[in-house]
Symmetry: C2
DNA sequence: CCTCTTTTGAGAGCTACTCTCATTTCATGA
DNA sequence: TCATGAAATGAGAGTAGCTCTCAAAAGAGG
């Protein structure tokens, strides 16, 4: 899931030794992101201009846009999707997809949150406070949705382009995003992993009956 | 649903006679929108500047932004949400929400599509082609989601802020949005109402088993 | 050490969007 | 019908995100 957890860049297992060039690029990327986080924390999102970010990171504004296509991307960009896909594929093929998601997300949440709790919190806060960030983040969801489609299709033998597969996947993503929003709106106090659990339960068991006649009298 | 169908402005039943001022405002609004649609059809979304739109609609650029807060809004803005809410409330209180949605949406789709098929098609096309439009449209979904929450909460006696209610609603919205995207990506050839039907069926019956073990062997 | 390639910085330029203020246009009551 | 108040408009300046180009700087490789 994109902005749900962390924005770390998982080191690929095969690191044949990055040259000086690559190392510098990574450092610049980190510098920009850290400067951004700091400035936003100090003065808010809108008040922070790309020019300020560039200055704080000691690069030119051009360079900032070379590394991140939009300002929102500086906050949101993560490389979590491939991780999600890989981990989902590692689950047994006969496990229901919702169950796989439950496991994978629980693990991801625990991991990402333990690593950089402050950034995860800032990110989700911006996601509900700053329209531009929210938009961008919703956008990235459709990418994640596409991945889900592929995994689902693989397990069921269906086509990833099937209406049923696609709506199923986006339904999941939509619900999980809302879970993150809920978490953020409640001050990040509750346990995100547990919230995700409850959401997935609703999706599997309560979806059809959640508002049926007399299913929940007051 | 927001950009799913039409962007008409439903005349409120109680129209005690709009003054000249109101009528003019409505005319300008329409002029801006029509000019926008025409220009976009002719030269594409990005190539069309607000200045051009203003000139074509014979107003000043300031006025354009007075009527629509963003350029994307000119294409997307509709007043469909209140209609959706009203119609949903008119359904019997003991009807499952998914069933109510099925009815209401089928009606809305037929209605809106018969009225302005070209605009509906252009809108959904832009929604998958232009990132900015897609973003804005995803954004408006959360508003629609809020409405759904209220209706669901009313029927079940739950709190509209409940995690379960919210994720359920956003799951629905996410799936339905994907349905629209599917429709647009396939050249608007299939019957949207039927696609919506299939989606809702997936959500109620197939959601839990859609990818369960052996639920669909190739 | 020299050359080739990649990365960077500087700067001009476009456009969406905001804000202010003077002017025009409509509504209302005398 | 006209005067007064309120609302809508236009003009214009300004901000900032984002793009593009081109020349200078910095790593990589022989």
């Amino acid at each position: 899931m994109n902005a749900m957890t962390a924005a770390r860049t998982p080191r690929p297992a095969s690191a044949p030794r990055p040259g000086l060039r690559e190392r510098k690029k990574l450092k610049t990327r980190l510098a920009i992101r850290e400067a951004t986080y700091r400035l936003i924390r100090e003065q808010g999102y809108d008040a922070t201009t790309v020019e300020q970010i560039a200055e704080a990171a000691e690069v030119s504004p051009s360079t900032v846009f070379r590394y991140f296509t939009t300002k929102e991307d500086i906050v949101l960009t993560d490389e979590f999707d491939p991780v999600l896909e890989r981990e989902l594929r590692q689950r047994p093929a006969d496990e229901p997809i919702v169950e796989s998601l439950r496991r994978v997300l629980r693990h991801a949440v625990a991991f990402g949150f333990a690593d950089e709790p402050e950034e995860a919190i800032l990110r989700t806060r911006l996601m509900i406070e700053v329209p531009a960030v929210r938009s961008r983040m919703l956008e990235s969801m459709s990418v994640t949705g596409g991945i889900l489609c592929r995994v689902i299709a693989e397990r069921t033998g269906k086509d990833p382009g099937d209406l049923e597969v696609r709506t199923f996947a986006m339904g999941l993503i939509g619900a999980l995003t809302e879970t993150t929003a809920y978490w953020a709106e409640h001050g990040h106090k509750e346990d995100l992993a547990e919230l995700v659990d409850r959401t997935l339960t609703v999706l599997t068991t309560g979806f059809s009956g959640a508002s049926g006649p007399g299913s929940m009298p007051s």
